[in-house]
């Protein structure tokens, strides 16, 4: 699609919210708002608070860009409200958000569709309490081995995510992960090349952008590594053989389709020692900050973030209020 240089649309960027990722969301929102303004759009930046409904109904923006991360911005709640109000928005429909945002549900769907994803178990806190944590943890280690990857079943930015190499660390790590939510996702840890493949659909079907390889300076791509310039090196395109890079792209597009995602998504994966692409998780609202992966992929593809989002806004407007 030819890049439309300018747009006259009015856009509301939703950012902030009350999730653990509020800080990242505010930064994503600022970045995408200034990008859209530079492309000619009239942009408001709104938090999801008690003033939001009034703003949406009185200002009637042509479209909404959801730059919320975690919680209601990614689990479909905000999207449901936008559908109720008949406001066009960029991104995945509410029910599909709900499915993709819940990591164990998404993994099950991806596995069912034939995509590789590290073996996992998702358990609520109550199971450990009722059955006895020691026995359940032993069974987890016996089945999945060490190291283990622990993460909250929802949410992003690696908040609450931990790699556990020593079984003695497991109970405290569980407590840490369960501070973010009631259910913990326990995965077999897969070593290899960490990649993030963004997918955008600006009218010709979902297309994978060049995968970004993530190389954290101290081995773990945690919150500090993500948002401190210099603690992670990004290789874009990823340093992968062509056939592996192609399989990463195929996996990302397949995940986007399998989960019914719309407009844009980011699939995080690891290429293991055998060259297999293991999908870790899929993001319906990828980060858009200066340090985020989707904007890097857009640049690596020789495209402009403003052009891409202008196209996405146009698509949302042309879809109209009915999702």
């Amino acid at each position: 699609m030819i890049a439309p240089a300018r747009t006259e649309f009015s856009v509301a960027v939703l950012a902030g919210g009350l999730s653990h990722e509020r800080d990242v969301s505010l930064r994503s929102g600022r970045r995408i708002a200034s990008t859209l303004r530079a492309a000619g759009a009239t942009v408001d930046e709104w938090d999801t608070d008690a003033a939001l409904l009034g703003r949406l109904t009185t200002s009637r923006p042509d479209a909404v860009v959801v730059a919320l991360h975690g919680g209601e911005g990614e689990n479909g709640a905000v999207q449901s409200v936008l559908e109720l109000l008949g406001v066009p928005y960029v991104g995945t429909r509410a029910p599909d958000c709900r499915r993709a945002h819940d990591k164990p549900t998404a993994k099950a769907e991806l596995a069912r569709a034939g995509l590789d994803t590290p073996e996992w178990v998702a358990l609520p806190q109550s199971t450990f309490r009722e059955l006895g944590a020691a026995g359940v943890l032993d069974a987890l280690v016996a089945r999945l081995g060490l190291p283990l990857m622990l993460k909250p079943d929802q949410g992003g930015s690696a908040l609450g995510a931990q790699v556990v190499r020593d079984p003695a660390e497991l109970p405290a790590a569980m407590v840490g992960a369960l501070a973010y939510g009631d259910t913990v996702l326990v995965e077999r840890f897969v070593a290899g090349v960490e990649v993030a493949a963004s997918v955008v659909d600006t009218g010709d079907g979902p297309v994978a952008l060049p995968a970004v390889e993530v190389e954290p300076a101290h081995g773990v791509y945690d919150y500090t590594a993500r948002y401190t310039a210099g603690l992670t090196r990004f290789h874009c395109p990823a340093r992968l053989p062509d056939d592996v890079a192609r399989r990463v792209a195929e996996a990302a597009v397949a995940a986007h389709r399998v989960l019914g995602l719309r407009d844009l998504s980011r699939t995080d994966a690891v290429v293991d020692a055998e060259g297999q692409v293991q999908v870790l998780e899929v993001n319906v609202s990828p980060g858009l900050t200066e340090n985020s992966l989707l904007p890097r992929a857009v640049s690596a593809a020789g495209r402009d973030l403003g052009e891409v989002f202008t196209s996405l806004v146009e698509r949302a407007v042309s879809r109209g209020p009915v999702a």
Partner: protein, 467 residues
């Protein structure tokens, strides 16, 4: 090329800070990938600790009205007489605009330096009781934070030892870290810094053949602990430092905020030649004006003036003259008294709520002034790891780790009562109790009982504008 584990991994590093340093030392050439910041290789080594923080990010929700924030340290300005102040500010611009809007002296506006004597005399009882006051020995600074930064710059080379209470004010620890100080914490109890612990720390340093450059202390209504250094301990602290040749930096932003109007003799009054005294208008007038001061021995004063010239040329003349006019035209002593009453009411609300709601095994300080209660939670709880649970429950606190340079403090939290009104404090503590109950249940489930170790890097305490 085959799929491979990423190359160029840092080895031998011992944490995020070390990794940041190692990363900073590497060249950002294209074959190493993009580090996300083209200036990376230029940063000084002292930026190594300046990293993003999972904990800091969680404080972003504190600005939302749904969240009861017991995390911040913002003074409550509701009692300020804004109408009459606006008249004074307008009058300042009209009558003195040519000087108020011009560069000023690096040492500060002379009239304000004289008036600072009145403020110090109000706290000490008389000018003589301050340890002797000469406006010429005052350096006005951009908040006392700027004085702290300059003092650290004057005294601390990388690796030099600074002594500080355990725990200590997070802003001071930030300055010490920025100048790569080796911070040694000294124990305190309900009567403040423990002289025997200070003695031991000084002797330990002597055994190592080292000497601390200075002792940093907040003797009155301490941040974050809320307690004050007992009057009968003060001579011993002063004497120990004199004997070991260690300067004292006495930071006193809360000294006038004793709930019953009680004040303490300053350390400076006991040894004016070995104490740099820091004062502030942030808690007794307006934190946004950024006006504080240092009262220092002559030699240090001269160095501070030169340091101020290189840091800011001069503190803003405008804000200094606003403070000066306020002091000259308003009954500021009465306003201090109304601040005390307001903070007393809020502190009582917090102590009552803690008594009512907190689970067994918790204990906390009972401040007689200032802004903060320091709470200790049962063994096994890591207040930093618990913070996301609190955010989910719409309450925020500052975990104890932010107030230590050595990663300790996981069993503690600072609860501020300065900003939220009493009914919100009560609600916040009620929520906090629920959070603790949930965490204790989880700990029992997983059998976690021992002390927890640090897991995340970066600043652990909220920024100054956190509610």
């Amino acid at each position: 090329m085959t799929a491979m584990p990423p190359a160029h991994r840092t080895t031998g590093s011992s944490g995020p800070a070390a990794a940041a340093g190692a990363a900073a030392a590497r060249a950002a050439t294209s074959d190493l990938g993009d580090a996300g910041d083209p200036h990376l290789e230029r940063y000084a080594a002292r930026t190594a600790g300046m990293t993003a923080s999972e904990i800091r990010a969680l404080f972003a929700v504190a600005s939302r009205p749904e969240v009861v924030s017991l995390a911040g340290g913002m003074p409550n300005l509701a009692a300020l007489p804004l109408e009459s102040l606006s008249v004074e500010v307008a009058g300042l611009v009209a009558a003195e605009g040519q000087s108020a809007l011009q560069y000023g002296s690096a040492q500060g506006v002379p009239v304000l330096r004289e008036q600072i004597g009145e403020v110090m005399a109000f706290e000490a009882g008389s000018l003589a009781a301050t340890g002797g006051f000469a406006a010429d020995d005052v350096v006005v600074t951009v908040g006392s934070q700027s004085a702290l930064d300059m003092l650290t710059r004057l005294f601390v080379d990388p690796g030099d030892v600074v002594l500080a209470e355990s725990p200590s004010y997070v802003g001071a620890l930030g300055s010490f870290a920025a100048y790569q100080a080796d911070v040694r914490h000294v124990a305190m109890d309900d009567d403040g810094l423990v002289p025997a612990a200070l003695d031991e720390a000084l002797q330990q340093l002597a055994r190592e053949g080292r000497r601390a450059k200075f002792l940093y202390t907040v003797p009155n209504f301490h941040n974050p602990v809320g307690v004050s250094l007992a009057a009968d301990r003060r001579p011993a602290i002063v004497e120990l430092c004199r004997r070991h040749g260690v300067l004292i930096v006495e930071d006193n932003p809360y000294g006038l905020l004793g709930f019953d109007g009680q004040t303490y003799p300053s350390l400076r009054s006991m040894d004016p030649e070995n104490v740099v005294y820091l004062g502030s208008f942030s808690k007794i007038f307006a934190s946004g004006l950024r006006v504080g001061w240092a009262l220092a021995p002559h030699g240090i004063r001269d160095k501070l003036v030169l340091a101020a010239e290189s840091a800011t040329l001069c503190p803003p003349a405008f804000t200094q003259l606003v403070v000066s006019r306020y002091l000259a035209t308003h009954d500021w002593r009465s306003l201090v008294k109304s601040f005390r009453e307001m903070y007393r009411e809020r502190c009582e609300a917090m102590l009552t709520a803690l008594e009512t709601h907190l689970p067994d095994g918790c204990r906390w300080t009972r401040p007689q002034g200032g802004f903060f209660v320091w709470a200790t939670v049962p063994e096994g709880v890591d207040t930093r790891a618990m913070l996301p649970r609190a955010v989910t429950a719409r309450v925020a606190y500052a975990s104890g780790t932010g107030f230590h340079a050595d990663g300790s403090g996981t069993r503690h939290m600072r609860l501020s009562f300065c900003y939220p009104p009493p009914e919100r404090i009560t609600e916040g503590v009620r929520r906090l109790a629920g959070v603790l109950d949930g965490e204790l249940d989880l700990l029992r489930t997983f059998g976690v009982a021992g002390p927890r170790t640090a897991t995340s890097g970066g600043p652990q305490a909220p920024s100054a504008d956190t509610a």
